[in-house]
């Protein structure tokens, strides 16, 4: 057979796959939906199955901790706009419980097996539960991840509780505290770390976030743990006991302790799945447990753990909205493309958070930096830009009500430009880099939503081959 004919045969196979291959997406939220749409845009015309454990069709989650809790938007009104017909078989309300890579089947909770030729894993994360199950089951104790969670918490806030307790001052906890103050509700925030947002943005910005909370009347307690939650006789939460032996009387508790990746269903599959997500290459192809790349399994969204060229090829997990959207497009493209056409998913990480009337935006990976410099604006007015540096180069930036400048920093970060960066504007404060004060990664705090997971697997699950002498 000549080389030309082999090439033609492969091209034929790819064309046939696009019309008859069976594709399965596990996970029916933002990443799963956008991947399905992108597959159709790529010209995939074969059967497509979308499996999701929640009964609702795909919905947007960011409003759940903001507009919904305020009572402006009902929790079931955040269904995602569709950008094209996906013509899929939807299996909603049924969780995937297992994966058999030999027979190429996904096992469902009802015992059914769904066969696939190529699989996309987009099972995302769930809210980390309060560790004491009996206390977590008390009425008035909430987590927030799903629209049902948000509907329940909204109802509880609308009933004008005497005090709300928020455990964990990451982005979700801080946003909910902000809504409570907007609703005029007394709120106590307890954070194990030294300041709000410290894991994601470091102690220098955390100090500003703490001042912001206190200025808005939040009873913020840092460096403190909640030891226990106690109920009244009817099983409704009544008070919390803290590690400094103080007691907070409260009718509503939000536990915002970060998230847990939904990888349990992949146990025994032989994929590199674990605490930090599912390892994959920059083209969204999953690794097996030995670091061998698979041909038919792709990963996207909150659980994809992929190496990033800008961050020394460390593996990143990004619980960001646009990581799901952009990753979905790349994964879908690569699932139906031949090797030379495959693309990398190398986003410049970006997120936003609205709280206490301030728009917080960021690009890059802040915890990769160890220095910070305020480059524009005024801390006092809470309208500023700051850049993060690592070994003399800029690796991230954050703005408070200064989002229009973020693009300038994004361009610098993409070029690995020098740190501190050249002045961006006229409103330049005195620029002096200081330590960014990120907590030691071993100190427990609520997990930030961008995580550098390092080069090493957290579990020694790899099977090393014995050397034969």
């Amino acid at each position: 057979m000549s080389a030309v004919s082999i090439k033609e045969t492969v091209a034929d196979l790819a064309t046939t796959f696009k019309s008859t291959g069976r594709l399965v997406i596990v996970g029916a939220s933002l990443a799963g939906l956008r991947a399905a749409e992108a597959l159709r845009k790529e010209g995939f015309a074969g059967p497509l199955t979308i499996i999701g454990d929640e009964p609702e069709e795909p919905y947007d989650r960011p409003p759940l901790s903001k507009q919904v809790l305020k009572g402006w938007v009902p929790a079931d009104h955040t269904k995602l706009p569709r950008v094209r017909q996906v013509d899929a078989e939807w299996r909603l309300g049924i969780a995937a419980t297992g994966l058999d890579r030999v027979t190429k089947q996904v096992r469902l909770a009802n015992g059914e097996q769904v066969p696939y030729d190529r699989l996309l894993i987009a099972t995302g994360t769930r809210a980390r539960e309060w560790p004491n199950a009996r206390e977590a089951a008390l009425e008035g104790v909430f987590t927030i991840r799903t629209s049902t969670d948000s509907a329940g918490l909204q109802k509880a806030l609308a009933a004008k509780p005497g005090r709300v307790l928020v455990i964990g001052a990451g982005f979700i906890g801080s946003e909910v505290a902000s809504v409570c103050r907007e609703l005029g509700l007394p709120v106590t925030v307890v954070e194990r770390g030294t300041a709000p947002l410290v894991g994601a943005l470091g102690g220098v910005i955390g100090t500003i976030a703490a001042e912001m909370q206190r200025d808005h009347g939040v009873d913020l307690r840092t460096g403190i743990r909640v030891k226990s939650l106690e109920g009244d006789g009817q099983g409704h939460v009544q008070r919390a006991r803290l590690s400094d032996d103080s007691v907070v009387e409260c009718d509503v508790v939000l536990t915002s302790l970060g998230s847990v990746r939904n990888t349990e269903w992949l146990e025994g599959s032989g994929l590199a799945a674990g605490f930090w997500g599912v390892g994959c290459d920059a083209g969204c192809r999953a690794f097996d447990i030995n670091g061998v790349v698979t041909d038919s399994i792709f990963v996207v969204g909150d659980i994809a753990r992929f190496p990033h060229v800008l961050y020394e090829y460390q593996f990143l997990v990004l619980e960001h909205w646009d990581n799901a959207v952009l990753g979905a497009e790349v994964a879908a493209h690569n699932m139906v493309s031949l090797e030379p056409d495959r693309r990398p998913h190398l986003p410049l990480p970006a997120f936003w958070s609205g709280q206490f009337g301030v728009n917080i935006k960021s690009v890059g990976v802040c915890p990769f930096g160890n220095e910070i410099v305020f480059t524009q604006g005024s801390i006092k007015e809470r309208r500023f830009a700051a850049a993060y540096g690592y070994r003399g180069r800029i690796v991230a930036a954050v703005t408070f009500n200064h989002g229009k400048w973020l693009e300038y920093y994004a361009a610098q970060i993409e070029r690995s430009a020098p740190f501190p960066p050249p002045p961006a504007g006229y409103d330049r404060p005195e620029m002096r880099p200081v330590p960014a004060e990120f907590p030691d990664p071993h100190v427990p705090t609520s997990l930030p939503d961008v995580i550098l997971t390092g080069h090493d697997p957290t579990e020694r699950g790899a099977e090393f081959r014995a050397r034969i002498y």
């Binding site: 069709e57 009104h77 301030v358 009500n401």
Partner: protein, 71 residues
Amino acid sequence: MRVVVDLNRCLGYAQCVFLAPSVFRLNGEEALQYDPNPDDAMRQKVLRAAAACPVQAILVEHLIAKEGEMS
């Protein structure tokens, strides 16, 4: 109708807030909040707001699909 705003892209120019104030609001100076499921009667205003967005961050569903239809 369904609406989603890419808030990474949004820079708070607030053109949408002027054109459809019952759908788009600013919380503070720059943080946009919006109703992701406005009434169909708002369609013209929302489409105008989406068209006027200087960074084109507003995505309005253009599929003609009945509520809850899953295809």
